[in-house]
Subunit: 659 residues, 2 copies
């Protein structure tokens, strides 16, 4: 692949003339035109003025995507405590969209008076109307272990919730939660045909809510992993077909589903098998040291097909609205442990499903487990003992194929299609490429700085693409212009080619709108998003034409027992009706339909001094209900610049006082 | 400037070899190295594989900014109905940060339990806790008519509010509002030394709130322009030193402040001098046609220094908490009109302050007004009559120098340093470059699509830079990968050089996180943002060390009459204390200090199932108060990935039930 030969040459500016000479040589080949020095002078001068090296030029040309040309991959990243999902195009590293998920976002009209309110209501926790989330691990839906481009799932670590995003329209369509667990982390991830969307816990608490003193941590605090059943036809998680498995009060962490050879199984890391509970102000060590005493924590090995059977057999108790397989029943029937060194974090099943790579934050190795060995040990009931909760523990040495010495602070591993693994090294601020087969380091590339997750193109599937890897760096420090004490994160795009050449850093992308934890990269042609909503009057929350859709020429205002109903249309550049007269105290029900079908002909609908703003994409319908409790004159208007006479797309809500 | 000669060559791929030949020729100059065909082959193959033209290569190299190299300009864009401000680096067109302004944003810990709550409270309108805004026109603070890099102001069109952002830390520090007007648009803009931050209205309503029927529109609805006094020392708007001027119920629109020759004056466009009020469901024409009947609307010419005197003379009445100069007093004393064709939108004072360019949405011209002529007519009291509200109208033909025929749908005008103007043409989807002196079109460049505002580097100052212009396009349609029916906007970066060469489109930047209306571009070296907060315990909302700052070793929990107070520190990787025990119903006061001073060592603080999340940058302090009304066990944790043992930075809020 000659294209890559250029890249392995890391010439600095001092040698930049070599690129020009080389290009010049090419020009002497058949078809080459005679010189036009001003153009070449422009290029050379530009390189000099902007201090671009030969390597920079190649990186620029590998990422620059001219107007009207499309990117090749979608990257879906969690937004961390922004609560949202980021959609980024590769290789240009341009942010295409931020999808509202757990946090209201008015530009999208998400959580500002329309039908999305029901999503937030469904996500209430302990009766609290939660208005943020901490999104961590996006998971694309899979068919046969490959991304199918249909759905995206994402968890909220803070309040233990899961959201469903429909990739036909990039809209959040469901938020589910239970009172079983207070916090999640290891998830979302999906089984190979998206039978289940899996939510693993993090910080233990009494299951189902309720109070227990921290002194009773070992006895009364628990984790639980929830297998949320997903119905691909309806696009919905079905809580009544979902179940959970009780887990010990360790801190379960990153997780992955088996595939191919290991289909039917899931694997969860854990840390703090010490069951430390902090107490920094009470003379105890902080959790960071209390939880780092043991040389080994436990990988949780779960046979989810067996767990399904146990649920069918009624071996559950109902907690927090879900059937839960109790820990004592699960232990040795669908749940086993094996040791993991040390303070494990990342757990990533290889593309063929035969092996699992675990990296320990305080270890320098990646440990490669053999699923065949694990399965053999389970079948042979060959255990070294049980943990305090009766879970059988497999012998560590007999479960692994070997270890690779990678460096300081290894976290997460991704794969290419050539048998290589790529692991982030937090403490070294590097990505290390290594051979899974040989357990040998091949190359390291510095990243800037403090890398958490990394993600490769189709890197979580049975058939990774290689080509691109993105390093999700937590710190940026000196990479970008100063923007105050709160710095952006830094996504670095790395060319990993077909796995046979040297890695090249291509692009630094600041993320100043959240703190992504993980991401997945999917080929663009696997998605086929809608460009307008059809039929006119479509409600993206209910996935159907709304019964209150308004029609041009039949707009009207009716006073009914439950309040004043307004059926309104929006079209460039007017609302009909544009004058809404109500009395103080009236409940107002607006039914607003954008009756356009032209791509990009979106209208907004905002009401002055009200927390109401809709984004009505072509064909979309939304319903809004509010109480007109304050007499006055409130302009409403189209908040999206839709036409030359966009400012004239306005009207008044007139709230007449009661005398 | 040889660099640009290359750019004027719009060679397509068919002629791409010319660039190579040219570069080859260069290599034969002294210092040129002999060929290295593999490198050149790489470049050529890359251009072919990615279908990059010669022009694309130059554009890529003019924008690509390698890792660790910094951009040259900040672009501050409104986020539209996202309610926020976007910070973008030029020429790389990377989004560096989104600043929370009118909408809560949890990644920044903005509006999620900390001291920023007071900002939102100050922005209450009609007693409603507004949680979004529609930001339109950012304005950088100025000294002598030049950006000084100290502050940024931004308006909320939806609820008529103004926010102040301190560019020392990129934090919103103040939101002001009054009940005088319901909606704003023409603003913010500032006087040349930032004496005032000016907020012009848009949709008329009864001043000071309250109800009046739409039938009384001409008599009882009004606009008003507010001059908010700004104190540069404190960084605050001073409402008690601010005032307003009552305006007729036209729809006042974009505005600008005079400078140099016209310092002391402000100018506001208006449309809908027809005073149409819609009524689409009542058999009346929609506003878009009702407001487009007149051939001329009125530019509002205001002598703000005279208005200041009138306030001092007590020629005001108090409305909505502000002294307001009544329309009948203002007319002919500090307020005059002059006609503007047709449905005017953009109004932009030339860098020397001598002229004003107005573009009419339904006109094909830009009209160039002479301030000297306007001032002469006012001084000579040469009027053609008064409007219905008694405001004297200057003769149009005697107020202008001339008109330039630009094209369809001209909106906004920017300037370079070479005497050229650039005007957006909405209907044509083009930017037109024209000579202000000659009133002649020089060139048009297509943009994609439906451009609203455009912005040039330092383009609103007395000394524009040229070099870069950004076209804020409303529609993107086919420019980016599909992301569902809600499309991003498209910011297109255009190289305008020193004004002497052809414009070149350099970069398409999708904006999938809001709908920016306007932006300003400032040289990077004018800003000097902090990288950490000092001293430790600094509260960015009060701009001082917080009296409740916590100190390492002196953390504590105290029960007081007003509740349980917790003085907590955050440091990698622990909170002290990490166990908070309270009783059901307790009011909890958290005082949390990040005691670190390392750049980028930010900690988050999120509480499970609570709408509490802080972003504690190095040295920052925040206070949170909430009622622990639901017994249970709530994990709290650092929501920002701060260290290898970040997951261990956690604790519990234990709410013991009352028995």
């Amino acid at each position: 692949m000659r294209l890559r030969e250029a890249l392995s040459r890391r010439a600095e500016w001092a040698s930049t003339l070599s690129i020009m000479a080389a290009v010049g040589a090419l020009a002497c080949q058949p078809g080459g035109a005679p010189g036009a020095p001003s153009v070449g002078g422009g290029l050379a001068q530009l390189m000099q003025e902007r201090e671009l090296t030969e390597s920079d030029v190649m990186a620029a040309l590998k990422t620059y995507t001219p107007t009207g040309k499309l990117d090749e991959y979608y990257l879906f990243a969690s937004g961390g405590h922004s609560g949202q999902v980021l959609v980024i195009g590769l290789p240009s590293m341009r942010l295409l969209k931020v999808i509202g998920v757990f946090t209201p976002e008015p530009w999208q009209g998400y959580g500002y008076g329309g039908d999305s309110g029901a999503l937030f209501d469904a996500g209430e926790k302990h009766g609290r109307k939660m208005r943020w989330g901490d999104t961590h691990h996006p998971a694309l839906s899979e068919t046969g272990g490959d991304y199918d481009g249909e759905y995206l799932f994402i968890n909220d670590k803070n309040s233990a919730r899961i959201a469903v995003i429909d990739l036909r329209d990039f809209e959040t369509t469901q938020i589910v939660t239970s009172s079983l667990i207070e916090n999640d982390h290891g998830g979302t991830f999906v089984t190979p045909n998206t039978e289940y969307v899996i939510e693993g816990p993090q910080y233990p608490a009494p299951l189902g809510g309720g109070y227990a003193d921290i002194a009773d941590y070992a006895e009364k605090y628990r984790g639980a992993v929830i297998l949320w059943r997903f119905n691909r036809e309806t696009g919905k998680i079905e809580p009544d077909k979902s179940f959970a498995i009780e887990l010990p009060p360790y801190m379960q962490d990153l997780s992955d589903a088996g595939k191919l050879a290991s289909d039917g199984w899931i694997f969860l890391n854990s840390f703090n098998t010490e069951r430390a509970t902090g107490g920094t102000a009470e003379g105890k060590p902080p959790l960071e040291s209390g939880a780092s005493q043991n040389d080994m924590d436990y990988m949780h090995i779960i046979n989810w097909r067996r767990a399904e059977e146990m649920v069918a057999e009624g071996k559950t108790k109902q907690i927090g609205g879900l059937p839960v397989i109790p820990l004592d029943a699960a232990a040795g029937d669908c749940l086993w442990f094996v040791g993991e060194p040390k303070s494990p974090h990342g757990l990533d099943v290889t593309p063929d499903g035969k092996e699992l790579v675990v990296a320990g934050k305080l270890d320098t190795h990646a440990t490669v487990y053999s699923f065949e060995k694990i399965k053999g040990l389970i079948d042979a009931k060959k255990f070294v003992g049980n943990d305090d909760y009766g879970v059988p523990i497999l012998p560590f040495e007999e479960s692994i194929r070997g270890q690779a010495e990678l460096g300081l602070g290894p976290l997460h591993t991704q794969y290419d299609g050539a048998g290589n693994a790529y692991t982030s090294l937090f403490i070294e601020s590097k990505v290390v490429k290594w051979s899974v087969k040989d357990l040998k380091v091949l190359e390291k590339i510095p990243v800037h700085y403090n890398v958490g997750h990394i993600v490769a193109a189709e890197g979580d599937t049975v058939s990774p693409d290689g080509r691109f890897l993105v390093s999700l760096n937590k710190w940026a420090i000196d990479r970008f212009m100063k923007v105050g004490p709160l710095l952006p994160q830094n996504f670095q795009l790395i060319d990993i080619g077909d796995g046979s050449e040297t890695m090249q850093l291509l692009y630094d992308m600041p993320i100043g709108i959240g703190e992504p934890h993980y991401a997945q990269i999917v080929k663009a042609d696997k998605l086929n998003p809608k460009e307008v909503f059809e039929p006119i009057g479509y409600n993206p929350r209910t996935r159907a034409k709304d019964p209150n859709a308004a029609t041009s020429g039949e707009e009207r205002i009716e006073r009914r027992p439950d309040g004043v109903h307004v059926w309104m249309t929006a079209v460039r550049s007017r609302f009909t009706p544009d004058l809404i007269r109500v009395k103080e105290g009236d409940t107002v029900h607006l039914h607003v339909t954008n009756v356009e079908q032209a791509k990009d002909a979106t209208h907004g609908f905002g009401i002055g001094s009200h927390n109401v703003n809709l984004s009505l994409e072509p064909g979309e319908h939304e319903n809004v209900t509010f109480v007109a409790d304050d007499p006055g004159v409130y302009p409403f208007y189209c908040t999206e610049f839709c036409s030359a006479l966009h400012l004239e797309m306005a009207g008044y809500l007139l709230v007449e006082p009661n005398e």
